[in-house]
């Protein structure tokens, strides 16, 4: 992307900080919800070929629980909260004391609860991002899917699809308790949104 021709490292750092602040708030919200410590890794910002993006969550065919929100407003984009099926179960049990359903299927109630968790987390991510940048960003009603990671994530790459074969995403991994890789927060701003994000943060854009 031409926007990254100059000061690429610095700009990546800025985006990393964007992810840090947003996901930091979301982690705090999650920790309050679950009433246990939730840690997060330093966000990674990368321009990845489409094919490699689902590798982040276990490969194109890995079955994941994903809550998707479209971000509307000044800097539109796509947001995914992605967790493994095991993590989803643990969250449901820890948070809502749902009976440990052994079967593979989720009930409507469970899906709705997970959707709401995604909604709360995405809301806190975006509101802190809004405070930081002064940009208006509002999440759509969340939507949930339990399916192959590739099928789910490709949906968030369409805006990048018309521009090339890679997408820039801000990826934050959540760690709950001692268990690693509990969940991922992907923010995939639309290609046009980067300039707005940079301007709002005082990063010179040529």
């Amino acid at each position: 992307m031409s926007l990254f021709q100059n000061d690429a490292d610095f700009k990546m750092d800025v985006l990393r900080e964007v992810g840090n602040i947003g996901a930091g708030n979301a982690a705090t919200a999650m920790s309050r919800l679950l009433n246990k410590p939730v840690d997060m890794a330093v966000p990674t910002v990368s321009l990845l070929p489409f094919e490699e993006i689902s590798e982040r969550v276990g490969g194109s065919e890995a079955i994941v629980v994903a809550i998707f929100l479209r971000v509307d407003g000044d800097a539109p984009g796509n947001m995914f909260f992605i967790i493994s099926k095991d993590s989803a179960r643990r969250i449901l049990q820890g948070l809502l004391s749902f009976e440990a359903g052994e079967e593979d299927e989720y009930t409507e109630m469970e899906l709705s609860a997970l959707c709401e968790i995604g909604n709360i987390l995405a809301g806190s991510y975006l509101s802190s991002l809004g405070d930081l940048t002064g940009l208006y960003m509002s999440p759509s009603v969340p939507s949930i899917a339990v399916d192959m990671a590739g099928a789910i994530l490709s949906y968030g790459l369409l805006q990048f699809g018309t521009m090339g074969d890679d997408a820039l995403l801000i990826d934050t991994t959540f760690l709950e308790g001692n268990q690693e890789a509990e969940g991922h927060f992907f923010l995939i701003p639309d290609p046009e949104s980067f300039e707005k994000l940079f301007r709002s943060l005082g990063v010179p854009v040529e």
Binding site: F50, E51, S54, G59, S60, E61, I63, F68, R70, S140, V141, S143, A145, V146, D147, M148, A149, G150, A151, I152, L153, S154, Y155, L157, L158, Q159, G161, T162, M163, G164, D165
Partner: protein
């Protein structure tokens, strides 16, 4: 029976195979996996189409495998290069799901059905009959075509394996 070779087709990618090799693409959501098959020479081709039309492209170097209107002509050309006759080609396709449901929804939300429509239009324009399809709905699919038999296999999380 010997293990058949698997040729992977990535996202926005296309490839051809013959001699019993299997073409495979994983995790189709709103994307469409379209395959061509020539039963006489036992050759198959597959494209993983992401967007309906190259008119919306804003990229410098156009990836023709990505768009329905440009992927089909290229796939036919590649099929010819391995000995297939365009007049004998038959098509099967899957994908074009709507992974997330939204009330209202912008045009990009309907991308799956639009991918299916333009792939069909492209097939029609070359006079290639569409023998079978498994498109739409709201789930992901992994698909394979066997270049020896033309059997098209679809795997999904909810419905397991089926052949068309």
């Amino acid at each position: 029976m010997t293990e058949s070779t698997i040729v992977k087709v990535g996202m926005a990618d296309l490839n051809v195979a013959s001699g019993g090799a299997v073409l495979k693409t994983t995790g189709l959501g709103s994307c469409v996996g379209v395959t061509l098959f020539d039963p006489a020479v036992k050759a198959a081709g597959m494209a993983h189409i992401m967007l309906p039309s190259s008119e919306i492209a804003r990229e410098g170097q156009l990836n023709i495998a990505k768009y329905a209107d440009t992927a089909l002509p290229e796939l036919i050309r590649r099929m010819k290069s391995i000995g297939a006759d365009p007049k004998r080609l038959v098509a099967k396709m899957a994908g074009g799901a709507q992974m997330f449901a939204f009330a209202g929804g912008s045009d990009s939300m309907r991308i799956g059905p639009r991918n299916v429509e333009s792939t069909k239009l492209a097939l029609e324009s070359f006079g290639i009959p569409l023998l079978a399809e498994d498109t739409g709905a709201n789930y992901g699919r992994t698909v394979e075509i066997d270049s020896g038999t033309g059997i098209f296999t679809i795997r999904s999380v909810q419905f397991g394996v089926k052949e068309i």
